[in-house]
């Protein structure tokens, strides 16, 4: 019976945490994306939604794939330990995915800022009084 309880507890905790992280990402990532896409709200919302869908698929896929255990659970202690192991792994994967999404958001934003910047990345070799004189 311990195995079944562990599975149910694992699924409940993991899915709940995944939903919480995905919602956090969805709500707080929007501002980054709107900025990155120069105020184009519809495009930002679309990318935000697609990222969250990918996030759900990867995480729920991971949770389902790692559900099974071959360990025999005879005591409550072993059940809690297994649950802790599995939930810990899910939290770790969620953390990695979350930072990966933050990396994507910041890259989108940095690229947008690069586009707006009018300062050349490197100092000129020399100055010419006019473009004609430079030739």
């Amino acid at each position: 019976m311990f195995v079944l309880y562990t599975y149910v507890a694992y699924l409940l905790i993991s899915v709940a945490v995944t939903i919480w992280v995905a919602r956090t990402l969805h709500q707080n990532g929007r501002a980054f994306l709107v900025d990155a896409f120069r105020g184009q709200d519809a495009l930002a919302d679309s990318v935000n939604h697609l990222l969250v869908v990918g996030f759900y698929l990867v995480n729920l896929g991971w949770i389902v794939m790692t559900l099974r255990t071959y360990q025999s659970l005879d005591t409550a202690r072993s059940a809690v330990e297994l649950l802790s192991d599995k939930v810990g792994t899910v939290l770790f994967v969620l953390g990695v995915m979350h930072f990966f999404n933050l990396f994507l958001f910041s890259r989108f934003r940095r690229r947008a800022l690069d586009r707006l910047s009018s300062v050349p990345p490197i100092l000129p070799t020399r100055l010419a009084p006019s473009p004609e004189a430079a030739r």
């Binding site: 940095r110 690229r111 690069d114 990345p121 490197i122 100092l123 010419a128 430079a134 030739r135």
Partner: protein, 110 residues
């Protein structure tokens, strides 16, 4: 700065291919490519505001003017990567004749 003029070596196949490639890119600062009148080796980029970039700096400015590559230009111009980028561009520029031959790129007048 509203325009960059790239003075390239029209006798070099690689340079002509690069010119055509620049023409196909989305440009954040409009680029005009003109063949160099003299036999100078370095690529030269001039801005309509009077700045002149030569050699490896000119390569970076060309990348900076392109929408897809501005991010790369800023990254390559960072203190950590600039020496490597300069060497890379200098090598490419030095061997452009040989590279053109090996790739079968022949100079083409626009």
């Amino acid at each position: 700065m509203t325009q960059l003029t790239v003075h390239y070596d029209a006798r070099c196949g690689l340079c002509c291919a690069a010119r055509d490639w620049i023409g196909r890119q989305r440009q954040l600062v409009p680029i005009v490519c003109v063949p160099k009148p003299d036999g100078r080796n370095d690529l030269v980029v001039t801005a309509d505001t009077g700045e002149v970039w030569e050699g490896d700096s000119a390569w970076l400015m060309v990348l900076w003017a392109l929408d897809e590559y501005r991010h790369w230009a800023n990254r390559l111009a960072s203190p950590a990567l600039l020496p490597t980028a300069r060497r890379m561009f200098a090598t490419l520029s030095h061997y452009r004749g040989e590279i053109s031959c090996r790739l079968g790129l022949v100079p083409q007048i626009e």
